[in-house]
Symmetry: C2
Subunit: 352 residues, 2 copies
């Protein structure tokens, strides 16, 4: 079980493991405040925002809910294209938040086209950047532009859970006003922290509600290096340590992640597998199962080689499998995984 | 900074540190499901409930909010005695949840009397068991009994954040229907997990709302060893490891914690300090600052000896200091801390 090839949680960065092995830090100390501010500063850099990044103790889903509930008031109209499990989740969260939700459905694997969201009358558009369930990457800048041409006052919220530190992310430059992410994906840390990035424009438009996820209260505390509620400070240490290592050579890191994912697609396509997405996210390679081969067989073939992979979610359950090298894997580990994938395909594909 | 004497986070249990140094586990694997179910089983034992314990990724405050929002519907009347910072928090959460809240105020350090809550017409009573801000322990069984005599249908919710694994806890036997706790106190793990214990009676009365904190959805997933949202699985491993170690000798452990806290009070009283609480919680020893000695002076005297202590919260800010041996400290470490405390008192108290 050492080859964690799931699209999160992922293999931990050595700096994260190192941080987690330290004695407990108390969050109301100068040392903790320093690391909290450092992590927030590095996250701002990672999201490429002039706004703020808030660190929440919880999963990426909590960050998505915080984003929706703090940007939109009940009764406001939002547009939610649904093209995978996580955009489905945005839809559910918006409904539960009391918004008037217009849903646009796409086959899993597809992503919305700019003309689909070029419609007037909405307070917001909710998009998933990298749809981890299908491996598809939405064209955020084009979608945000098309939406905002028709809704100059509208806010664009994005799930950047598996794009942060894996693909290109630039909050304002992409036309995104707020984004949610988490610690256990591109940041190569354990799960337990969610992040909400807020552009300067989003910061002016906060409509806080809820108690634990009241972002105005968080913002006030986090500007001082504190947090409203006891934070998972050990994970904040880990996040700061990893970002400090990766950000100075981010371009190289993103190029590696793109190359690694392309490598997986290459092996799959050599074996005649059909990719699930049309536009590839660098976070995960998703393939339809070969005709007549059940998911359990693929999973088992990888398990025998010490690897954990992911199956399909929602309507893709039992139809696809997914591999990810988003974790702390270098070039040679990726080549090793490619060799493993080839072996598996030889084993499971009917001899021709 | 090695002597963490704050009432949470606390010095980590060696079993927790060991668990945190392991490679990342994926939460949708058999190994993770096993550890999740094991942690839930051990937590049920720790809360002494025949009901269920749900593990949430978030702080104890999230667990308190989940408890309130899943047990009471907007417009229901609840009674909230306020006798410290955490009962103040219960009050705020109940208000934000849209409940009709009747507040009973007590001086910090005091706890409510059974006759105060023996009033008809309430759907619930919210109590803090061990008020970490004052060091006071509320008499939960007597309070719950008095309340339920007048409100047989009423539910009693309790904050057991610093009583779980520190003092006597027994959900149903104490007349409590639901309780909230967290990982970073008596469980000697890092912060990042909240727990909600639900008695069989509370389970029948769930009125789920919210998205991330929808306990009905959690219950369904957690019965299978899963969780609705990506859990801080590394911390679940740590919690299971610590409980597995401590629960078989719980009586001895609680006796140690009680003795350690009494030791701190003994040293303080020898030095002429006045304790804050009337009824002592075993989780923390809280003292009024000696006449003319500012908190910064006490904090600094401990810091020079490598210890981190806690000051006052809310109206007690600048008036008290708090010491806790809730963390992974044995008998001899406690005696060392007692010696440190004596030294500090000699240094800060005016020579008589």
């Amino acid at each position: 079980m050492d080859w964690l090839l799931t699209p999160g949680p992922v293999r931990l960065h050595p700096k994260a493991l190192e941080a987690l092995a330290r004695p407990q830090l108390h969050h109301r100390t100068e040392a903790a405040r320093e690391v909290f501010l450092k992590a927030r500063g590095l996250l701002r850099e990672a999201f490429r925002t002039e706004g703020e990044v808030l660190i929440l103790t919880g999963s990426g889903t909590l960050a998505m809910e915080a984003l929706v509930k703090n940007l939109f008031a009940p009764g406001e109209r939002v547009l939610v294209p649904v093209y995978g499990k996580f955009s489905e989740r945005f839809y559910e969260i918006a409904l539960e938040a009391g918004l008037v939700v217009e849903r646009l459905d796409y086959p899993y694997g597809d992503t919305p086209r700019p003309e689909d969201v070029a419609k007037e009358g909405y307070a917001g558009l909710l998009l998933v950047h990298s749809e981890t369930s299908t491996g598809a990457l939405a064209d955020l800048p084009a979608l945000a532009r098309a939406f905002k041409e028709k809704n100059p006052e509208g806010l664009v919220g994005a799930d950047m859970v598996t794009s942060l530190l894996v693909g290109e992310v630039a909050l304002e430059a992409m036309g995104v006003d707020a984004a949610a992410s988490g610690s256990q994906k591109g940041l190569m840390c354990p799960p337990g922290l969610g992040f909400v990035a807020l552009s300067p424009r989003a910061l002016e438009r906060l409509k806080p509600r809820g108690y634990y996820l009241d972002l105005a209260r968080e913002l006030k505390a986090q500007k001082e290096g504190e947090s409203a509620w006891t934070p998972a400070i050990n994970l904040v240490l880990a996040v700061a340590a990893v970002l400090e290592e990766v950000l100075p050579r981010l371009e190289e890191h993103l190029a590696l992640k793109a190359w690694q994912n392309a490598l997986l697609y290459g092996v799959g396509e050599e074996g005649g597998l059909r990719p699930v997405p049309k536009r590839f996210s660098p976070a995960v390679a998703a393939f339809y199962l070969p005709e007549g081969v059940p998911y359990a067989r693929v999973k088992e073939a990888f398990a025998q080689r010490g690897a954990v992979i992911a199956g399909g979610q929602g309507p893709l359950k039992g139809k696809v499998f997914r591999l990810s090298l988003m974790g702390a894997y270098d070039r040679y580990e990726a080549l090793g995984v490619a060799a493993m994938f080839r072996e598996v395909l030889e084993e499971i594909l009917p001899a021709s």
